[in-house]
């Protein structure tokens, strides 16, 4: 008889093994899915996961997608460690892109690189302000942040759509819902003219190190960890939970906002309605897949970035729908949640004792 049994203490091994098992299961089910779609599963998985990384260009494109994922994920780590379930990185990202674009449109004639500074600042503060709404609702009215941040995501999306269809629309853009192209000086510097990869990846790596240090070494990071682990202990120690809530949400909003403005001043070069392919949501998967640890999050953001590229790749090469990206991301989260169960529980094989057949179910 196969039986689930609570482990005496959480398994550390399983905590790190669980994401790997989840990835394997995702690949397995993905392969089966490709079979049903009428493709050779190995070839399809190769196209999805390997082919994008067979060139330098592929790796630089990966970096472009890692940057926003990593920025959002590091901010979310702060929140999730405090058990503040901020689902609003997507909205904060969009507001960052929107606020940054409004600023960038004021500098269409700029030829100084310094114009980037107020633009990045505007984007960061827009994301921060958007998170501040959720922080205010939570600390003032005790409103559940899961609900408020999800709702604010839709408000942000509609604000973006209003912007690109209305006041921010390029007057010379043939009525396309897009802003004017930003001035070259207000675009993030790239490492090489051959590739699109820009310095936003450095922002992301810097944020990773900063948040890592903050969580591991600083007093505020410690307080956030205690608040998340055990709110009563935080109260006993006299930590100010409202201040910590504000801090975590604002920091996350700022990082997501920076990611948003880096997107419009980076690979896009203008504001478009599809500014985010769901980076803010995918970053949630990144955080959990990466075990809230910096290196884990780095690898997880690379994997999630790869799912975006793989989706585009199978669309181009095999004429399969790009929505496979979402499917793979969803499967990953699903299997991760399932295998995480085995951190606290284990499966044991036990021969059923003949005399206690009726008692076993009650034990």
């Amino acid at each position: 008889m196969l039986k689930l049994e609570k482990r005496p203490s959480d398994s550390r091994l399983m905590a790190y093994l669980s994401p790997l098992i989840a990835i394997l299961l995702t690949l397995l089910c993905g392969g089966i899915l490709f079979v049903f779609l009428g493709h050779d599963p190995f070839a399809a998985l190769h196209t999805f996961f390997i082919a994008p990384l067979t060139s330098v260009y592929g790796w630089t494109e990966l970096g472009i997608k890692v940057a926003p994922l990593l920025l959002c994920a590091m901010g979310l780590t702060l929140c999730f460690r405090a058990k503040i379930w901020n689902i609003g990185a997507e909205g904060q990202f969009i507001m960052g892109a929107l606020g940054g674009s409004i600023a960038a449109l004021q500098f269409l004639d700029a030829d100084s690189r310094w114009a980037l500074v107020p633009i990045l600042l505007a984007g960061t503060l827009s994301g921060l302000g958007w998170a501040a709404l959720a922080a205010w609702l939570k600390t003032r009215f005790n409103a559940n942040e899961i609900l408020t941040t999800i709702m604010l995501n839709y408000v942000a999306l509609n604000a973006l759509l209003y912007g690109v269809h209305g006041p921010l629309k390029d007057p010379e853009g043939f009525n396309f819902p897009e802003s004017a192209l930003f001035a070259d000086a207000t675009l993030l510097p790239v490492f090489s003219d051959d590739y699109r990869l820009n310095i936003s990846i450095l922002f992301a790596l810097l944020a990773m190190v900063a948040i890592w240090t903050l969580m591991a070494r600083s007093w505020v990071g410690y307080q956030i960890r205690v608040l998340g682990e055990d709110a009563k202990a935080a109260r006993y120690a006299g930590f100010k939970d409202k201040q910590l809530t504000w801090f975590a949400l604002l920091a996350c909003g700022a990082l997501a906002g920076l990611a948003g403005v880096s997107e419009v001043t980076g690979p896009l070069g203008q504001l478009v309605p599809q500014v985010s392919p769901g980076y803010g949501y995918a970053a949630i998967i990144v955080v959990f897949l990466g075990r809230m640890q910096p290196l884990g999050i780095l690898f997880a953001s690379m994997l999630l970035a790869l799912t975006y590229m793989g989706g585009e790749m199978v669309q181009m090469e095999m004429t399969l729908p790009k929505s496979l990206t979402g499917l793979f991301q969803g499967m990953l989260l699903f299997f991760l949640l399932a295998t995480d169960f085995l951190i606290a529980y284990r499966l044991v094989w036990r021969r059923q004792p003949a005399s206690h057949s009726t008692t076993a179910s009650q034990a």
């Binding site: 609570k6 203490s9 070494r217 410690y222 205690v226 120690a237 006299g238």
Partner: protein
């Protein structure tokens, strides 16, 4: 009744991951016998009880009921056989009446006729001297009365074995005496009683057979009537632990903590309202506050620690008003607190002992400019572990991996090593083995002798008598008079715990010591 054998356990073994709760346990209970099951916390008493009551199936061993092997498939089967159990934590619906609660546990045919049931409840409860009004709503009953409901519920069925899990821990001394009378009546009518306790004087008073468990194994059978409580304690704790100690009493010097006119209405509807509460603790003394759980202890502790904010009133430490300060600000002035809940308030379960050492001690130079000085924190944690003999893998062990006693030693150590001027301890040795309890009491006395003011809130009256210099009780949010421990008899304290005192005089004049 003849002393025929009613229950016989043979070689009962039950293992959990990481520990053997019961190891080949033998137990015989005769009819009409009041049988004590003794042991420290974690000795395996509760597991054994749950096996008898059918809640848990044993891994090995046999249960004989009236000499016949029985496999008890669950509590309802146990009740059919005539086995009843009163758990430490009652399973009553507070918004239902006594009769409705009892009806829920009965077979449908008996539960239908409420009028008849109410009459039977009255009859049975009066017969055994524990009067109950079947129409009362349970939440209006005292804890002692709620326990009666649980007992009467068992008695309504033809009961042959009644199991009571630490029934006296929630009762006042007077209620304990009443319960004992009831149990003796029951036993004289032939019912067997299995009485779980770790209070030896109660066992000596009540029981005529005893089985002692230690680390899951039976370490002795005896008749408490022919045994001293010292011998019983020896069987419980093993050979090398000192059993009890006498501590010298001290006289406080000047008033360190001075709380006046504290009023507090908790948000929790089941909380206890504090009204005009006044309390003075002197430097160099231990003040003990007795009381049955849920009489305002948590609220008082919350106000003193700063986790809750009083509606009105003042609290001063050495003349400085602190009632408006947060817990961490109070700590900087020399407060320290040992809360009742160790895991999940006094310590973060999933964090290491290093991180837990920092929880309340950050102001003692363990951080600088917003950054944590981890080498210093680690050293502090190690120091606590060495000095307070905390048994753990190392300082990186998770708090939840420690036993209750060892975690309590760690928390007490963390608070005492901050050299507080005022320490509040809630239930300092609750559920702690005797060795750890002695170390904790020693530490408290030592801190007192260094001049700290200490307030101990506890349900353990023996302990309060041992370590307190002055003693009082709290009942229903009101504080009894407070007097030197030697001058307060246990009967007096029992009356105070039951609320029998005139309204407290906040500025009680110095009582000359007895």
């Amino acid at each position: 009744m003849s002393s025929s054998e009613r229950l016989h356990l043979q070689g009962i073994t039950k293992a959990y991951p990481g520990c053997i709760a019961n190891d080949a346990v033998e137990l015989r209970v005769n009819s009409g016998e009041i049988h004590a099951l003794l042991g420290e916390n974690g000795a395996g008493k509760s597991t054994l009880m749950k096996i008898i009551y059918g809640v848990i199936a044993p891994d090995a061993g046999q249960l004989l009921w009236h000499g016949q092997p029985q496999v008890i498939s669950g509590p309802s089967h146990a009740r059919q056989l005539g086995i009843g159990m009163v758990f430490q934590h009652f399973s009553l619906f507070e918004t239902l009446t006594v009769a409705e609660n009892i009806a829920l546990g009965l077979p449908a045919d008996q539960a239908k006729d409420m009028a008849a049931l109410e009459a039977r409840i009255r009859e049975v409860s009066e017969h055994y001297g524990m009067a109950l009004d079947p129409k009362r709503l349970v939440y209006t009953l005292s804890v002692g009365e709620q326990q009666r409901v649980e007992i009467v519920r068992c008695l309504l069925q033809d009961i042959e074995l009644l199991i009571l899990d630490e029934p006296t821990s929630v009762l006042t001394p007077q209620e304990v005496q009443q319960l004992f009378r009831t149990l003796k009546t029951l036993a004289s009518e032939g019912c067997s009683i299995l009485f779980i306790s770790h209070k030896l004087d109660e066992v000596v008073e009540l029981c005529n057979a005893a089985t002692v468990l230690r680390h899951g194994q039976v370490t002795g059978h005896c008749n408490p009537q022919h045994t001293t409580s010292g011998e019983l304690a020896r069987m419980m704790v093993g050979d090398d632990t000192p059993l009890s100690e006498n501590y010298s009493k001290a006289q406080g010097t000047r008033v360190a903590l001075d709380a006046k006119d504290l009023c507090y209405q908790p948000e929790d509807p089941f909380g206890v309202r504090l009204e005009q509460l006044a309390l003075q603790v002197k430097a160099g003394e231990i003040l003990g506050i007795a009381g049955v759980a849920g009489n305002g202890q948590d609220e008082l502790m919350g106000l003193l620690s700063g986790e809750e904010r009083q509606d009105s009133g003042s609290i001063q430490l050495n003349g400085t008003a602190i009632e408006h300060l947060s817990p961490d600000q109070r700590r900087q002035l020399g407060f320290a607190f040992v809360p009742e809940e160790r895991l999940g308030r006094g310590a973060v379960p999933d964090m290491s002992l290093v991180d837990n050492a920092l929880l309340s001690a950050s102001h003692t130079g363990l951080k600088r400019k917003g950054w944590i000085r981890y080498p210093a924190v680690r050293q502090f944690a190690r120091h606590i572990i060495d000095r307070y003999n905390v048994k753990c893998a190392d300082e990186d062990a998770q708090a939840k991996s420690l036993s209750g006693g060892n975690l309590q030693k760690f928390i007490i150590g963390r608070e005492i090593e901050q050299q507080p001027k005022f320490l509040v301890c809630s239930h300092p040795t609750w559920g702690v083995d005797i060795g750890a309890a002695i170390l904790i009491r020693h530490s408290l006395i030592h801190l007192r002798d260094q001049g700290a003011a200490i307030l101990v809130i506890s349900e353990d009256i023996d302990e309060l008598y041992q370590i307190s210099d002055r003693i009082g009780a709290i009942c229903d949010g009101r504080l009894s008079p407070i007097a030197p421990t030697q001058s307060v008899s246990i009967e007096q304290l029992g009356q105070w715990m039951a609320g029998q005192f005139s309204d407290p005089q906040p500025q009680q004049p110095e009582v000359s010591h007895a």
